[in-house]
Assembly symmetry: none
Homo-oligomer: 212 residues x 4
DNA sequence: AATGAATGAGTTTTCATTCAT
DNA sequence: TATGAATGAAAACTCATTCAT
């Protein structure tokens, strides 16, 4: 009864660290870097506050670790899409759908990025690890674009990075600003129906834009 | 002998309040609601901290005021576009370009929205004032879409709200996540050249998607 | 009953600051810089802890202020001796006696200096104010030595700074190390009798050393 | 595979304890009792923090051990002077010179004593061991004074304990307050030249004071 | 209207110490 | 003997807010 979730854990550094990281992602996503409380992270993880310092060093350090964690997770999932094995149109549609679904299911990812950007990405700027982590994705996209152009189903003049930003942006803005958009348009955008509708629109919109 | 320097502004409520609001927008944009400091806002405005309470009531209250302020500004600018007076294609292109340019020039707008969304828009949710402020925009967009469909230059099946979100998203994500995108792609996206390039891509991408 | 000493004091910045400084001298003397507690200083002064930060900035800053305070006090007292108006032998004896008595009555002065020296005087190093404060004393001593040499009662080859250090040292060490000396010699050196005995010894010892 | 580097010292209690004690002397001298960190002591000694508790019991206990250690060292050195074998004048001069040189070379001795005195010598008060350790020194001094008085080179009325305190004080104050003295007199007292000059002054001053 | 003084409740971080192996 | 994990109690410092003028 002393812990919120997870097995009985005493003197299990690996589990402790993982629990802290998970709790940190949740807390930072919910309140941002400034609003998050170390106390709360420790409590969510069911351990003593000092362990945050023992394992991570400082609030900034565990924040950085949380960021790397969520990036690693999404990249992991993208890798599992096996885009290279699909025909260009199918690959593109799967990627767009995945981008949408991932953001729908991982609001904490969005929240962490938003905060990090306000601080000009000072925690991850210049991280070679993150850069290497993302280059395969761009390579895959590039290859799909080329194959599609070959087959005559895609335009020839698309930059894969710009395309990635566009695909992400169509979904991202809907989720990141879901509440303010709902407020200014007086229309609930977080219902399952509204989400499904948006999903269709995004795929359709992007695919149309790729036509030659 | 009773004052030290700076512009004469003692006993000028209107100017004081405006100065506080401007300072608040800057401070909240830079640090978020939790990270912002009342002290700092007062200092930026060159007045005593207590006046924040005098004029606005509380931190949350001045935050809400800052939000309404930035929304009012962008809507003001959109109104000045006179989209209704242009042919559909031109109107659409102007709107897309404006959305891009406004975000480029008003990073504080982005920053405020990001924070408000993490808190589920609790400060502006249900604000009828904001809703009314935005309905003319949607009406204009709807009308442009209809005219364009009539002329055969736009698809028929587009929802103006979805389209607005898509147009905004293509620009928004680029700016809101400019720093993290730069970091993961190892490519500076905040140079004038990168911004101009993105602008071209966004207009081109969106216009292509609207084709019948 | 809410304050330890001093008059009722609300919204009296000068009195508040003075009370804090007095409390700081006592606390730092008793526990050293590292051992002193800001909380305790505020409590001793009967005010809120935050006022320490309001008026002084930080723990180090109020520590520096406490040091300057005790130096100012001793110099004030030395000035009141009017050594220049006395014949050389009398002037010297009065100075030696004063040095002894002041340390006897101001253990906090010793304690503060001890701590500051362990930190290589980092708080006062290079303080022009302190240097200027002390130069008149050395000038007076120099003049007394010269007059005494003229009259044939003092040796000719004495450096006033060295002499000052010697005079101070004979008293200082007795007080600064009173407890450890008592412990290793198994002899209480803090009784009135022991102090009086030491006083006689110091004056006698120093005056003998000055003979030509 | 179980150790990372450094000298072989696993399972060598004597060496471990000595390393801890040496590290403790350095740490306590540098930061005082309150400012010293158990963690730091362990790290300086290259062992686990828990061993401090294993071998010494608590922070106070290892502090006490450090104090006894430095006292034992200086007494050891004094014993090696063989003052009893020298003629009175030579013995006295050697003792004065030694007192000066030892303090010059052992700043940690001074630093430890200063802290212990602020706490009224609570760690060593009543230590019979220390008292016995020091009585031979006083006996030697007494005997030298008597022999000198016999020979007519020293005054007759000197108490050996007072004399010891005076001799020590002349050197001690110079070193213990070297930094604050440098600051208030605007004159570097820690250069080799200044130290040599002070050494001459101290010996000269004390020897002059002993003349009949 | 405007100010500076003052406060209480936090917040990150530190640290001596104990536990489990 | 030796280690790293874990803890509870505090410490410096912060901050939104209220008070008195």
């Amino acid at each position: 009864m002393r812990e919120e979730g997870g097995a009985e854990r005493r003197r299990d550094p690996v589990a402790t660290k993982a629990a802290l990281l998970k709790a940190a992602v949740a807390e930072f996503a919910a309140k941002g870097l400034a609003g998050a409380r170390i106390d709360e992270i420790a409590q969510r993880a069911g351990v003593n506050k000092q362990l945050v310092y023992h394992y991570f060093g400082s609030k900034d350090d565990i924040y950085r670790a949380a960021l790397e964690q969520v990036y690693a997770e999404i990249r992991e999932r993208e890798k599992a899409l096996h885009l290279g094995d699909l025909p260009p149109l199918a690959a593109m549609e799967r990627l767009i759908g995945f981008s949408f679904d991932y953001l729908a299911e991982h609001p904490e990812f969005l929240a962490l990025l938003a905060d990090e950007n306000r601080e000009a990405a000072r925690h991850i700027r210049g991280s070679e690890r993150l850069e290497q982590m993302h280059s395969p994705l761009i390579a895959l996209l590039k290859e799909a674009l080329e194959r599609g152009a070959e087959e005559g189903v895609f335009r020839r003049d698309l930059d894969p990075v710009q395309l990635y930003i566009s695909i992400s942006g169509l979904s991202y803005f809907f989720f990141s600003n879901n509440f303010t958009l709902s407020a200014i348009f007086g229309r609930s955008l977080d219902t399952p129906k509204a989400v499904a509708e948006r999903r269709r629109h995004v795929i359709d919109f992007a695919m149309k834009a790729l036509r030659p």
